[in-house]
Symmetry: C2
Subunit: 411 residues, 2 copies
């Protein structure tokens, strides 16, 4: 049987009218003879309402209880949506995390999917034409309810598509697809038709928040074709899939940015073996995500260590490191909150040199000073003063002809 | 191990302050070294909110989806309460219907408990000192969530107490216990210390809505001692238990009434064998609860058939019977909405004659006309004009000295 997985977020199911629109999306593949697995989030606002209640009850709510409570959001939206479908005469039912079952580890609040019983799912699909599956939730071995963390519904959808070998996993969102960059920042931004998993991972992690990053990892691992598209139109969106030759012929697929960054510099660190671990292990323990790291060449046994952290974690980062000042052995800690990251991303740059140089040159032409640089196989990231973010994005977008003009295939 | 089961309704858990009070009730047996199973309802208003949502979505919501949705009310209140307990350092956790598991049939919306796995419960009790169990819900063989119908949390509590052989099942409510009659109607009403299951069944079914009737049936069947008591004080309430000699020495234990009644009369019914079935089977099919039935002696092959139904079902009753007018063969259908039932209840009347006569006489002394009479072993019910309900209740309460004066042991 042909199976289509569709995922709709909280905004799409927030009230009866929206759910009726979603139903039309579901009925299309259904009427074409496909079985449909619909993955839903909680109605917009509901998860926050529940988290608010928990916070009123306890400063530090038990994570297992919190999951049991928060999971009711999807439980309600799925039941309501299944009611709508049944009223239309569709053989449908809701399926909760423990019913599918979506087995996870027991890391409440950020559980990872361990297994999805495709046999059980197949049975359910034999008896029903549409399954309305609660996203974001699963259950551990003890049948306790777990949740996958914010945005986990994307991961649920991709994992279900992988388990049942669906033809496609459609992720419906409020934008028409993945863009070459943020259209709010650059009016020339263009929808990308096809993008490789790795490119999408870089785009997502850099703040192009169309798809949850873990869901892309999952899609890549199980080779699930993901179609990111708009709830509000029938136009095709962006296909996220395996890298192919046509993708490699494009040097740069998109420009991502992240304004939520801060730079920390430890001045005159005593450069002994293991000092990096001494600095970064305590931060990792506190789950602070350190991103770009630059170590200056050592001079007289001293070096400067510069790195970026999310802006929200700056205070904790400073507190943590100041406490270890003598242990680590640095003289001074400087921080700069007014920085942002701008990246060019593309699998095509693997086989082409000169991409980074062109990026640096185009920024230089606009007098944008680059504070730090980091590169990977398919990405070049520059840290800049955040007041230049928009200018930098537009400049790079233009420099790599992402507005849909002549594609820049060679340098 | 000694196990205490406690059940708290929606009003008792409606906000943080109330849940803190409930916690004190739970901590008492806990500190005395007992294991405690706390059964909770949804926070007051939540179930209605959810039902309202469902009604907005569908005129006739799918019952299975409705159960999955409505059950979230208890899921939230239990998670919150478990958070409170854990914050106090109590080894506690919430347990949902499918986790216990409370196995039911699949009659969604009015499921019956089939089995409770006491082995699983024992395991949970070995690992935790307090289990916070979601009332009102269970799951069927397919792991679909079911609910037990309104007031089902009482049944959950008693069923859990039966399964785990708890020492007592405490049902906390907003009144101090079971009264000889409705204190709002009769200021002389007195709290009953001990009452037999059968008496309680008659009291409950007649509208003395302290305990859900099915929970009493359950308690009787499994011989669970139920203690109905107040959330707002530490005073003892009413023990509902097996009949004993002391109970039999009291002729009448209480006066119940039900104003929600209507009388239907079919005039000149052709009195052939099977006519009763012809009348009452279609009503039963529509789940209309026919209560008192009186058939006049037949005359010329014709009889009048009079019975009572809940007032809300009158329209449907009339519609159903009018459609079958020629099939059944009656001339006229009369209805009277202004009637109520008043009953005297007591296991003691089994061994004493004259109780009914005294009741009739005392009503007659007040010029209250009796429209219909029905009697059982432990109950005498009179249908009267509903404007006399209060007067009748007070008169009977007085006639049988229920105000706590000299007990009336012989006639």
């Amino acid at each position: 049987m042909n199976i289509v997985v569709q995922k709709f977020g909280g905004t799409s199911v927030r009230n009866l009218e929206c759910q009726r629109q979603v139903m039309q999306k579901v009925l299309r593949p259904y009427r074409e003879g496909n079985k449909v697995i619909v993955v839903l989030s909680a109605m917009a606002g509901e998860t926050n309402r529940l988290l608010g209640l928990a916070k009123e009850w306890s400063d530090n709510p038990d994570p297992a209880e919190l999951d049991s409570m928060v999971s009711t959001g999807e439980q309600v939206s799925c039941a309501l949506f299944a009611m709508l479908l049944k009223q239309q005469g569709v053989k449908a039912r809701s399926v909760l995390g423990f019913q599918a079952p979506v087995e996870t580890d027991c890391a409440f609040g950020k559980a990872r999917i361990v297994n999805i019983d495709e046999k059980k799912l197949e049975c359910l699909l034999n008896e029903h034409d549409v399954l309305v599956v609660a996203g974001f939730q699963g259950c551990d071995e003890q049948l306790r309810i777990t949740t996958l963390g914010r945005g986990g519904s994307d991961t649920s959808a991709v994992a279900l598509a992988a388990a049942i070998k669906a033809d496609v996993c459609e992720i419906y969102t409020d934008v028409p697809g993945v863009f070459t960059t943020d259209p709010n920042m650059c009016s020339d931004a263009r929808k990308i038709d096809r993008i490789a998993y790795d490119e999408m991972l870089e785009m997502a992690s850099m703040g192009a928040k169309v798809l949850q990053i873990r869901s892309v990892e999952f899609a890549k691992k199980y080779n699930v074709t993901v179609h990111v598209r708009s709830t509000f139109s029938d136009e095709l969106g962006t296909i996220v899939t395996q890298e192919d030759e046509s993708m490699e012929s494009v040097l740069v697929s998109g420009i991502a940015y992240d304004k939520d960054q801060a730079r920390i510099t430890l001045v005159s660190v005593t450069d002994t073996p293991g000092v990096s671990a001494q600095i970064f292990s305590p931060l990792a323990d506190k789950r602070i995500l350190v991103d770009m790291i630059v170590q200056n060449p050592s001079k007289d046994g001293k070096t400067d260590m510069t790195f970026t952290v999310p802006r929200a974690d700056v205070d904790q980062t400073i507190r943590t490191l100041e406490e270890l000042k003598y242990e680590i052995g640095f003289e001074e800690l400087n921080s700069n909150l007014n920085v942002s990251k701008v990246s060019i991303i593309g699998v095509g740059m693997r086989n082409h040199s000169g991409v980074a140089a062109r990026a640096f040159q185009s920024l230089a032409d606009e007098n944008i000073n680059i504070l730090m640089i980091s590169t990977s196989e398919i990405k070049v990231t520059c840290l800049i003063d955040d007041k230049y973010t928009e200018l930098a994005v537009r400049t790079l977008h233009n420099a790599f002809h992402l507005d849909g003009g002549e594609p820049l295939e060679t340098l």
